[in-house]
């Protein structure tokens, strides 16, 4: 059974999340602040942490910073009041993190927890599976039902990123920043070119397709 640690200073919310997650088959432990969370993690392993930001003693930011500095890669789902969070978001979230804005929709929380766990597993296994297609990150290899081939790095990373969040629209600028780097001054047209090539490769895929939302961006959709 997967174990989740909840760091939330409000007792009512802590209990609520606990109920919801337990109902969905997870094993849950609740603590009231960042320090207690770290103490708990000294003794036990957790598959995921849900953390509020505003907590006494040690807040959410501090908690995650300490974890990441120590090399801990446990996925974290942060709970936040939106406005204060946006400033931090850019330099803060890693691939295994996500956030939700209060008031929390508990059904959505469950979905995000599932998605986070799945992504963390993909990163641990160094591979992503979508339908019958497997992407192996270390070898840049894509294996489908009928064939196996290697993609150039940028194309692979582009597909990998988008397929990690199926259904989510990424703007060209976001893809440019993530895959080519924030410093890169190239035109986002490069993204279009790479998407075109990916579409060529996976023209006949029965597992997914790349959808364009004109003027906005691209997304990978499971078939």
């Amino acid at each position: 059974m997967l174990k989740i640690l909840i760091a939330e200073d409000d007792r009512e919310l802590r209990q609520l999340f606990s109920h919801v997650l337990t109902k969905n088959g997870y094993s849950v432990k609740g603590v009231a602040n960042g320090q207690e969370a770290l103490d708990s993690m000294d003794n036990e392993y957790y598959d995921l942490i849900i953390s509020d930001i505003m907590m006494p003693v040690m807040d959410g930011y501090e908690l995650v910073r300490m974890l990441r500095d120590a090399g801990n890669t446990t996925p974290v789902l942060m709970i936040t009041a939106k406005d204060s969070f946006d400033d931090m978001r850019a330099g803060f979230m890693s691939g295994t993190d996500d956030y939700m804005v209060k008031p929390i929709n508990v059904n959505e929380m469950v979905l995000r927890v599932q998605a986070l766990l799945r992504r963390a597993q993909m990163i641990n296994e160094r591979r992503l599976v979508i339908g019958d297609t497997t992407l192996e990150i270390d070898s840049l290899t894509v294996t489908t039902e009928s064939e196996s081939f290697i993609l150039p790095q940028k194309e692979f990373m582009l597909l990998y990123k988008m397929a990690s969040y199926p259904g989510k629209i990424f703007t060209r600028q976001q893809l440019m920043d993530e895959i080519w780097g924030y410093e890169n001054e190239s035109d986002t047209h490069t993204v279009d070119v790479h998407i075109g090539r990916l579409r060529e490769h996976f023209r006949n895929s029965k597992d997914f397709k790349i959808v364009t939302m004109r003027g906005v961006g691209y997304k990978v959709v499971k078939l």
Binding site: K102, K168, V216
Partner: protein, 351 residues
């Protein structure tokens, strides 16, 4: 608080003999005395030195010397008074533009001027901390109120999932959920709106990609438009804008959200962002029922809800909030009927 201490210290300094009044008096007196002395001293030998037989009248000499003295006095007065005034004006304009971090760091040897500078620095310091207090208040209250609401919503959802509820009970649970949703979105906007009503300066300005922000808004609203199977026609020029990113986000979220709300199932929402003559123009168009003249008059009023069939979905604060924010940035927002039915909102922002 260093600024306040600085201010008090300057005010209490006793030993400064060189204050402004004394200086000006001394300058004018000295200037005039020197001029008269020079004039007198030179009136005799001056004539003898000249090769001309033409005698320069005493009056003319005195006038010339007075002019020289006047210029000298003016130069000093300008340096002591007008220069600091100019510095003050420049700094105040920055404050009016929303920058509360401005401080005047030059030193003046004049006590009065130094007092003005440190008074100014104290003022901007206070302005900055007032703004911070207001922000903290809004976010603290938000946080405290949102927590019990989150609990009510959460348990209602858990109730919904319970299998042994009869139809009546189910309906009640749905009602509870529906209304807590309304409540939480309502006061969030209410707090922000009330804070903005007391504010007319746009603070925290930074340069960012406006087109990307609008895209993010569209993507964030995806659950809503997917549900109604709405198509988008989006064309945004790349626009870099200097403004308060967090505030403007509310404008796009509200306007695009409204377009989705009033679109029919399977409708089309049309979004454009262009730069024209140093102005930035954002338009969002839906193909819903459009807007009557009566509604046009009141649509930006607080709590006004045009179409009563949609009344329950919103809270009537989205548009007043959007308008307030746009006005703070110095822009304007307009609504009209589109040519082939539906509503079109236009936001114009200055450079």
């Amino acid at each position: 608080m260093k600024t306040r201490e600085n201010f008090e210290w300057i005010r209490n300094r006793k030993n400064n003999r060189f204050n402004l009044k004394v200086r000006i008096m001394a300058t004018i007196t000295a200037g005039m005395s020197v001029s008269i002395l020079i004039g007198y001293a030179m009136s005799v030998p001056f004539d003898e030195m000249l090769p001309y037989t033409y005698k320069i009248p005493l009056l003319l000499k005195l006038i010339v010397i007075s002019i020289i003295a006047g210029v000298v006095v003016t130069v000093f007065v300008t340096r002591w008074i007008f220069e600091p005034l100019k510095q003050l004006r420049v700094a105040m304009e920055k404050v009016a533009d929303g920058d509360f971090t401005v401080r005047i760091t030059n030193k003046s040897t004049l006590k009065e001027i130094q007092e003005v500078y440190s008074g100014f620095n104290l003022m901007t310091h206070e302005l900055a901390s007032t703004e911070m207090i207001q922000n903290d208040f809004v976010s603290n209250v938000s946080h405290e109120l949102k927590t019990p609401i989150a609990a009510i919503e959460g348990y209602s959802m858990l109730l919904q999932d319970c299998e042994n509820l009869n139809e009546e009970q189910n309906e009640y649970v749905n009602k509870i959920l529906f209304n807590t949703n309304r409540l939480s979105s309502l006061f969030g906007n209410m707090l922000l709106l009330s804070k903005l009503e007391n504010q007319s300066i746009e603070t925290n300005q930074k340069l960012y990609r406006l087109d990307e922000q609008i895209r993010e808004s569209i993507v964030a609203l995806e659950p809503a438009w997917v549900k109604k199977d709405i198509e988008f026609d989006v064309d945004l020029e790349t626009v870099k804008y200097l403004g308060n990113e967090n505030l403007l986000r509310h404008v796009w979220d509200n306007l695009i959200g409204n377009a989705i709300k009033f679109s029919p199932q399977g409708g089309l929402v049309h979004i454009r962002l262009v730069k024209k003559d140093k102005k930035i123009i954002f338009t969002v168009k839906d193909n819903g029922p459009g807007i009557t003249d009566e509604e046009k008059k009141h649509i930006f009023d607080k709590f006004y809800q045009a179409d009563s069939s949609h009344k329950q979905e919103g809270h009537g604060l989205g548009l007043p909030l959007a308008k307030r924010i746009v006005m703070i940035t110095g822009g304007k927002i307009e609504v009209d009927n589109a040519k082939n039915g539906g509503c079109i909102f236009t936001v114009t922002l200055g450079e």
